[in-house]
C-alpha cells in the first residue's frame, strides 16, 4: 500500500529525469522532474516541520494551479499533515467558512491577493501564512506572515529526510480535506485517505492504461475534488506529466501548446468549446460553413449509427473518415485536442448534443459519476458507451446499489468521514455503504443511470412527478442557453430562468442586424425571447411524447439580465448552479413567474442598476 510520499520517492528513484510538473510562468514552461520535485518537497517539508506542521495538522494550500502548490501538497502529506486545498478565487465568507470548518492553522499561499483574502476573511484561527511571492508586501508586518524563501533558507534537500518520513506514513492517514460542492446541502469537509485516492486513481489508470508518457492539464481550482483526483492523484500514481496553465484567461491557449492526452473537464468546458466553435463557424464565409456543416452531418450520422448499435453503409463510413481527416482533425488541432485520447467529464450531467458532438468528431469522451465522498469518481463509461444517458460501470472493487431509488456505493475510494463530525459521518455511511443523495437506477448491463439530486426531485401541486436536473439538462442542450434553473417542486407548473450565451447570441443577433447596447439589452430583446421560446416549445413537445414526463411541460420562462456568477455566490467553482442561493436571490423574479406579469423590474444587487426582465409564456 502506498502513500503519495512513497509514490513520489519511487518515481524519483525509477525515473528521476522524467518531467513531473510543468507550469507556464513568465511566458515559458518551467519543468520540474521527479528528482527535482523530490528535492523541493524535502526542503518544503523540513521548513513546514520547523514551523509546527506535524501529523494530522490541516494545512491550507491557497493558490492557482502551479507546480509549487502540488509540491506543497506533497510536503504537507509527507509530514502526515492534511492538505486543505483552497481555490485561488475564494475569498470572504466562503474562505472563512472553509478555513474554520477544517481547522486550518497553517496556510501555504501564493501572493498578496491571497494573503489579503486570508487576513480579511474574519477568521483568527490561522496562525501562520507562508507566501511565495512577496511583491507588494514590503509593508506587511503581521506576525503570522512568512515569506516562503525565508522559511526555507539554509535548508538543504534531503532525500533521507523524506525516506525517514515515508516510514512513518500510513495509507489510512487522511491525505486531504475537500469540501462538497454545496449545490444543495451546505458545504461539508470530507476526509479522504491516501489509500482511497490512490486506489481510485489506479483503477482509472489501469482501465485506460495511463502511463508516464501522458500529459495532463490542471486548470480547475485546487479546491475542486476532480482536480485532486484527475490532476494530482493521477499524476503521482501513473507518473504522467501535470501541466499548469499560465493564468485563467490562457487555459485554451496553453491547452493547445501542451496538447494534453488525458483531460478531465466539467460539462461547461465541453459546452464552451462546442459553443465557441459553432460561433466561430457562424462568422465564416458561407462556403466554409457549408463544408463544415456537411462534415458535421457525416460524422454525426455514423455516430448515431454506432449509438444505436447499427452498422452504417460503406459510403457513410467513407464520408465519415473524410470529414474527420479534412475538418475535425484540424478542428482538434486548433483546440489542442489532437493528442487527447481520453476525455472525461463529470460532476454534472452533460448535454446530450455536446456529448454526441465530441464523440462524433473523434474525441473519446466519457461520462463519470462521482462525489467528493467517493474521491470524485465512482463509475465511468467505457469507449463503447455511445450514449450520454448512462454513466457507465463502477470502478474496480467498487459496488453500487439502489435503495429506494437512491444511489449508494462502497469501495476502496470511499471517504473516511466528515471531518470532526461523527453525526454527519454516521448519516452518510451506513453499514459501509455511502449515500449519495442522488436518484438513479442500474440497467441490465450493470451501468448506472443518474436521474438527479433527490432533494431536487419532487412533485407538482397537481400531483405529477417533477425532476429539475433532467429538465435543466434538456434546456442546456441548446447552444444559446448557457445556464438554466428550473423550479416546480410543490408549485403549480414548471418554470425556467435561463441565461443566454453572450458570444454566440451576439453573433446571432448581429446576423439579423438587431439593435442592442449590451448583454442585458440583448437578453431582453424580443427576438431572443422568441428564439428561446421556440426551443422551449420543442422541449415541451419532446416531454409530451413520454407519459412519464408529459406533466413537466414548461409554462413560463424568463431570461435573466446577466449570467449567474461565481462572484455573486450563484455558481460553484465547477460552474454548477447553486440552486438555493439563486432561489433566495431571485425570489422576486420567481414569484413574478408564478403570476400573470409580463415583465419584472428589479434592482440587481451586483451593479445596483435597475433592469426589466421580460417574462415569457411558452
Amino acid at each position: 500500500m502506498d502513500t503519495f510520499l512513497s509514490l513520489l520517492l519511487e518515481r524519483a528513484r525509477k525515473s528521476p529525469d522524467v518531467p513531473a510538473f510543468r507550469t507556464k510562468q513568465m511566458g515559458i514552461w518551467n519543468l520540474t522532474s521527479w528528482s527535482q520535485a523530490r528535492d523541493q518537497v524535502s526542503i518544503l517539508a523540513q521548513a513546514l516541520g520547523q514551523n509546527g506542521v506535524e501529523a494530522g495538522t490541516p494545512v491550507g494550500v491557497f493558490g492557482p494551479n502551479a507546480t509549487d502548490f502540488y509540491l506543497g501538497y506533497l510536503a504537507v502529506q509527507s509530514l502526515g499533515g492534511i492538505v486543505v486545498p483552497i481555490g485561488t478565487n475564494t475569498f470572504g465568507e466562503e474562505l472563512g467558512q472553509q478555513v474554520h470548518s477544517a481547522d486550518v492553522e497553517h496556510v501555504f499561499a501564493f501572493e498578496q491577493q491571497h494573503v489579503d483574502a486570508l487576513l480579511e476573511c474574519g477568521q483568527t484561527c490561522v496562525k501562520r501564512i507562508f507566501y511565495i511571492n512577496g511583491r507588494g508586501m514590503e509593508n506587511y508586518t503581521q506576525p503570522e506572515l512568512m515569506l516562503l524563501s525565508d522559511a526555507t533558507e539554509g535548508i538543504e534537500a534531503s532525500a533521507a529526510f523524506l525516506e525517514q518520513m515515508e516510514g512513518q506514513r500510513n495509507p489510512q492517514e487522511t491525505a486531504t480535506i475537500l469540501f462538497t460542492s454545496g449545490t444543495g446541502r451546505s458545504e461539508r469537509p470530507v476526509e479522504l485517505s491516501h489509500g482511497a485516492l490512490i486506489a481510485t486513481a489506479r483503477s482509472i489508470a489501469r482501465r485506460e492504461t495511463i502511463t508516464e508518457k501522458d500529459e495532463l492539464l490542471a486548470y480547475l481550482p485546487l479546491s475542486v475534488s476532480s482536480d485532486f483526483l484527475f490532476s494530482f492523484s493521477l499524476a503521482l500514481t501513473t507518473g504522467c506529466t501535470l501541466n499548469c496553465p499560465e493564468s485563467d484567461d490562457t487555459v485554451l491557449q496553453n491547452m493547445q501548446e501542451i496538447g494534453p492526452s488525458v483531460l478531465f473537464g466539467p460539462p461547461y468546458v465541453y459546452k464552451y468549446i462546442y459553443t465557441h466553435a459553432s460561433n466561430r463557424i457562424e462568422s465564416a464565409r458561407t462556403f466554409d460553413t457549408k463544408i463544415y456543416k456537411s462534415a458535421l452531418r457525416a460524422v454525426m450520422t455514423v455516430a448515431s449509427h454506432r449509438a444505436a448499435g447499427q452498422k452504417g453503409s460503406f459510403t457513410d463510413w467513407l464520408l465519415f473518415m473524410f470529414a474527420r481527416m479534412t475538418t475535425f482533425s484540424p478542428f482538434c488541432n486548433i483546440y489542442g485536442l489532437s493528442r487527447l485520447r481520453l476525455a472525461l467529464t463529470g460532476g454534472d450531467a452533460i448535454a446530450p448534443d455536446v456529448f454526441n458532438f465530441f464523440r462524433a468528431i473523434g474525441i473519446d469522451l466519457r461520462e463519470t459519476y462521482g462525489q467528493v465522498e467517493g474521491c470524485a469518481c465512482v463509475t465511468m463509461q467505457s469507449s463503447e458507451d455511445w450514449n450520454s444517458d448512462s454513466v457507465g460501470l463502477p470502478l474496480d472493487d467498487t459496488e453500487v446499489r439502489i435503495e429506494n431509488g437512491e444511489i449508494w456505493f462502497r469501495g476502496p475510494g470511499q471517504m473516511k468521514g466528515i471531518y470532526k463530525n461523527p453525526e454527519a459521518t454516521a448519516d452518510s455511511i451506513k453499514d459501509g455503504w455511502v449515500r449519495t443523495h442522488d436518484a438513479g437506477h442500474l440497467d441490465d448491463q450493470g451501468r448506472l443511470h443518474v436521474h438527479g439530486q433527490i432533494a431536487r426531485m419532487g412533485s407538482l401541486n397537481g400531483g405529477g412527478a417533477f425532476a429539475s436536473d433532467m429538465l435543466e439538462t434538456r434546456l442546456r442542450s441548446f447552444e444559446y442557453i448557457k445556464q438554466a434553473i428550473v423550479l416546480g417542486d410543490e408549485r403549480d407548473y414548471p418554470v425556467a430562468v435561463v441565461t443566454v450565451d453572450g458570444t454566440i447570441t451576439r453573433t446571432w443577433a448581429d446576423r439579423r442586424s438587431l439593435r442592442y447596447t449590451g448583454y442585458a439589452d440583448l437578453s431582453a430583446h424580443a427576438s431572443v425571447q422568441e428564439m428561446i421560446r421556440e426551443y422551449i416549445q420543442k422541449v415541451n413537445e419532446d416531454l409530451a411524447e413520454d407519459p412519464e414526463t408529459s406533466g413537466m411541460q414548461f409554462r413560463r420562462f424568463a431570461i435573466l439580465n446577466r449570467e449567474f456568477m461565481a462572484s455573486a455566490g450563484e455558481v460553484t467553482p465547477t460552474r454548477k448552479l447553486r440552486c438555493h442561493e439563486i432561489e433566495e436571490k431571485h425570489r422576486g423574479l420567481i414569484d413574478a413567474l408564478y403570476s400573470d406579469a409580463l415583465e419584472y423590474t428589479y434592482t440587481d444587487p451586483v451593479d445596483e442598476e435597475s433592469y426589466t426582465v421580460p417574462l415569457g409564456n411558452v
Binding site: 513568465m26 511566458g27 507588494g136 499560465e246 484567461d249 490562457t250
Partner: protein, 258 residues
C-alpha cells in the same frame, strides 16, 4: 504642500502656437513618490503641459527641472534617459508590431549590444534579448497581459491597448511616469483596473506618477496632489480635498463664464 523633495519643478511655463497661448505662466512642483493629477476641462492645456514636461514641445518661457537638471530644451530621448516614461492620449503604440515587440521597445535604453552583434545574433545580443524578455514578462504578469503576447496591437480593444502602452512605459523602469488620460474611453471596470495599476505602480516601485485626466471623479481617490488647469492657466493646486472646495475649480467644471 506635498511632502518629499520635489522631483519635478515646473517654473512659469508659457507655450504658444502661433498666436494661440496654450499655457500661460504655469508653475507647480511634483514631489518624489506622489501621484499628481493634472485635471481640467477640454482644451485646458493639459496635454500641452505633458508635452512640455517630456520635451515634445519647447516652451517659449520658463523652465522644467527634473531631478535637479534643467531639461527645458532637452530632446524627449534625453529626458527618457533621465528616467521619465509616458503614455499617450491617443495611444502611441507601434501598430505594426505585436504586444510583445511593443513592450520590448520600452527596453531600448538598456540595449548595449551593437547592430552588428544583433544581426549576427551572437553573444551579448542574444543575452540581452533574453534579459529584456524576462523584464518584459514581469510587466506582462503585473498587468495581466499573458493571453495576448503575440497579438498585433492593432487588433486589441482600446482598453487593452492602453494597458499595453502602460506596460511599455513601465518596462523602462522609470522613476517618473506621465500618463495622458489613461482612463478616457474606458468602461467603469477598466477605469477601476487602471487606477489600481497606478496605485500599485506607485506603491511597489515608488514611481512618481503625473497623470492627466479629464474626469475629476476618477482621479480624486488615487492622487495625493491635484493641479487644475483651465484655459492654459493654473486655477487650483493642492490636495484633492482642497481642490474640490476651490470655487474657481467648481466654476470651471460647471462651465461658469468668467
Amino acid at each position: 504642500m506635498a511632502a518629499g523633495n520635489p522631483i519635478l519643478q515646473i517654473d512659469n511655463i508659457t507655450l504658444a502656437f502661433g498666436g494661440v497661448t496654450a499655457l500661460n505662466g504655469i508653475s507647480f512642483d511634483v514631489a518624489e513618490g506622489e501621484i499628481c493629477a493634472v485635471i481640467g476641462p477640454n482644451g485646458a492645456g493639459k496635454s500641452s503641459m505633458l508635452n512640455v514636461i517630456n520635451g515634445v514641445y519647447v516652451p517659449q518661457e520658463g523652465r522644467v527641472v527634473f531631478k535637479g537638471q534643467d531639461c527645458t530644451r532637452m530632446r524627449p530621448r534625453q529626458i527618457a534617459q533621465l528616467g521619465m516614461a509616458r503614455t499617450f492620449q491617443n495611444i502611441g503604440l507601434f501598430q505594426g508590431m505585436t504586444v510583445l515587440e511593443n513592450i520590448l521597445t520600452g527596453r531600448c535604453m538598456k540595449i548595449r549590444s551593437t547592430w552588428l552583434e544583433q544581426g549576427l545574433n551572437i553573444g551579448r545580443a542574444r543575452r540581452e534579448e533574453v534579459e529584456n524578455r524576462r523584464a518584459v514578462e514581469e510587466v506582462i504578469e503585473f498587468l495581466h497581459l499573458q493571453g495576448i503576447r503575440k497579438t498585433p496591437v492593432g487588433k486589441l480593444p482600446y482598453g487593452l491597448q492602453k494597458r499595453v502602452e502602460l506596460a511599455r512605459a513601465l518596462v523602462a523602469e522609470p522613476t517618473m511616469l506621465l500618463q495622458d488620460e489613461p482612463m478616457t474611453g474606458m468602461n467603469l471596470e477598466e477605469k477601476k483596473d487602471m487606477s489600481c495599476f497606478a496605485l500599485e505602480i506607485n506603491r511597489e516601485y515608488g514611481t512618481t506618477i503625473v497623470l492627466i485626466e479629464h474626469d475629476m471623479s476618477v482621479v480624486m481617490d488615487i492622487s495625493d496632489h491635484v493641479v487644475v488647469l483651465d484655459y492654459g492657466a493654473k486655477i487650483g493646486d493642492g490636495t484633492p480635498d482642497e481642490v474640490k472646495n476651490n470655487q474657481d475649480v467648481i466654476d470651471a467644471y460647471l462651465g461658469v463664464t468668467h
